[in-house]
């Protein structure tokens, strides 16, 4: 193990318990990580995103851990937000969540809240007031938020686990390593797209393919594409689900790609990946098991205001059929904006619903009677069968097609 990690006097004091038991435990984890990763020092952060919030995914172990941290008086030193919970924190009954689940879920959120990690419960903190600046070093978990912050915003985060993001929030520091360093942010793999990308789901399929085929320390470089940030949100989330892509560049589009003279390490790509019609077909086949669904689920990652507007436009003049639920998932912040725009009312009037704080991946679908979902998110289509022991089928298609399925 490298002993090159230098700590300041203040950091030594935290490690030795001078700032409390929990801070010492958190510092111990960061120091161990820093030593293994051969970091030279720790660097300060002002923003955190902490995963491990849904009771379904984090369970009793994390609940008890965070409650014990709270009872020992731990406090976050950063602007820190919680990842999605397993339910809408207010309207959970309307989702068909049990009292038992709700009680545990509330305890987790309250425990995080008590240590200063806010119950915003979204995977899109960058749309909700915790948007990092270009070049800013942050300590995020939530794989999709890491990919978005690094790639679309040009901020700098490693792919922290829920626990090390929590530790980093409590200490206000992260080890200086990995994607925080210039030399690791250059491209490795050139992606060539040899098929048409039409809907946003196609961009997710592309991300899914790339994530499967690159290693966690390789940076893929996509060709110049005419994409919105919303499509990149879906693409990055997919490549951080099938794989571990923390950072990608899109030529002439994402901020670092437009600033860097040479996009690749050693001046040229180590490998080229080709995404063609056949590869696209394979992804859709892998992520779709049946088009029989009783839930159309949109909002993984949480919908932006524009994505909610697209739902409203797509559903106009139609009504959700009796066999299907159409649910949109978003953050409380975007929900408020959508409400002011009249979108929530319109979606509800068409028989759909909009929930906050949660999504189809981290809600307990099995106990909610969901047996099949249709979604435009490759990330969700990857996780849902795994999270439900295959009791829930998936269908990956465009937002427009998904809405049609629910309204035909």
């Amino acid at each position: 193990m490298s002993k090159s990690l230098k700590l300041t006097k203040d950091e030594e004091k935290i490690l030795d318990g001078g700032c409390g038991e929990v801070a010492a435990k958190a510092m111990k984890l960061l120091v161990t990580l820093g030593e293994i990763e051969e970091a030279s020092r720790l660097v300060p952060i002002n923003r955190s995103q902490v995963a491990g919030v849904s009771y379904k995914t984090a369970g009793d172990a994390t609940l008890e851990l965070v409650e014990s941290f709270a009872s020992l008086g731990a406090t976050a030193r950063t602007q820190a937000m919680q990842n999605p919970a397993g339910m809408d924190l207010e309207r959970w009954r309307d989702m068909g969540i049990s009292e038992a689940f709700a009680e545990k879920q509330k305890r987790i959120c309250q425990a995080y809240e008590k240590i200063g990690i806010k119950s915003t419960c979204t995977c899109t903190p960058y749309l909700c007031g915790n948007k990092p600046d270009y070049g800013e070093i942050i300590g995020f978990s939530e794989s999709s938020a890491v990919a978005y912050s690094n790639s679309v915003l040009g901020a700098r985060s490693n792919r922290h686990g829920g626990l090390d993001a929590l530790a980093a929030a409590l200490v206000g520091k992260v080890p200086l390593t990995g994607y925080l360093l210039d030399e690791n942010r250059l491209g490795d793999i050139e992606v060539k797209v040899e098929c048409e990308l039409t809907s946003e789901a196609d961009y997710g399929a592309l991300g899914y393919f790339v994530g499967k085929n690159v290693s966690m320390d390789e940076v893929p470089v996509y060709p110049k594409m005419n994409v919105t940030h919303d499509k990149l949100k879906l693409m990055g989330a997919a490549s951080a689900a099938s794989g571990a892509v923390a950072l990608y560049h899109v030529k002439d589009t994402t901020p670092e790609a437009t600033r860097l003279r040479d996009l690749f390490k050693n001046g040229k790509p180590a490998e080229t990946l080709i995404f063609d019609e056949q590869n696209k077909r394979r992804v859709y086949d892998e992520l779709s098991s049946s088009n029989k669904c009783n839930l159309v689920a949109l909002g993984c990652p949480h919908c932006s205001i524009n994505e909610i507007r697209e739902v409203v436009e797509s559903i106009a003049g139609k009504h959700v059929n009796k066999k299907t639920r159409l649910w949109v998932f978003t953050s409380p912040t975007v929900y408020e904006e959508a409400d002011k725009c009249g979108y929530i009312k319109k979606i509800r009037a068409s028989g759909g619903d909009v929930f906050r704080h949660t999504c189809m991946v981290v809600a307990p679908l099995e106990e909610m009677g969901v047996t099949g979902i249709a979604t435009n998110s490759a990330k969700a289509a990857f996780y849902v069968p795994r999270m439900t022991k295959n009791s829930c089928s998936t269908f990956l298609s465009s937002l427009h097609n998904c809405v049609s399925l629910a309204t035909s």
């Binding site: 193990m1 984890l29 995963a51 995914t57 530790a167 966690m216 689900a241 069968p385 795994r386 295959n390």
Partner: protein, 148 residues
Amino acid sequence: MIFKAKIVQPWLNDIIGEVLITRSKISFLGDVDAKTGELVGADLDIKGRNLTDKILIFPEGRGSTVGSNVLYGLARNGLAPKLIGTSKIESITISGAIFGGIPMVSSIDEAVFDEIRNGDILRANIQGSCAILEKLEKSKYFKKPQST
């Protein structure tokens, strides 16, 4: 046959255990049933096997950052692997292993993926600043039933 690795979470006594090995990337969220330790990811070649008490070796993680919390939960519920070995250094797995007290190594010799199969027996011990994994003959590990 020995394989060197970097120590992530040290242990005291030699660890001897049956190997569960894959070249696939693993997400502890989704690919592993947190209540049983069973591998459930549809595209995994070790699907259907259980990681509890095994020496689990895989190249790198994928997917969810909640993986660290799931791994910690497996440890708290007595379902953790005996030892985790990875090729890449990745904080999601490492922080779960550290909080969960699961012995772990990383940067493991790549040859392990060619030479070691599921069900093989490895002994892991610490020699200086390095971890050494050694393949044991199964016949030496499984004591033959005494003939009467």
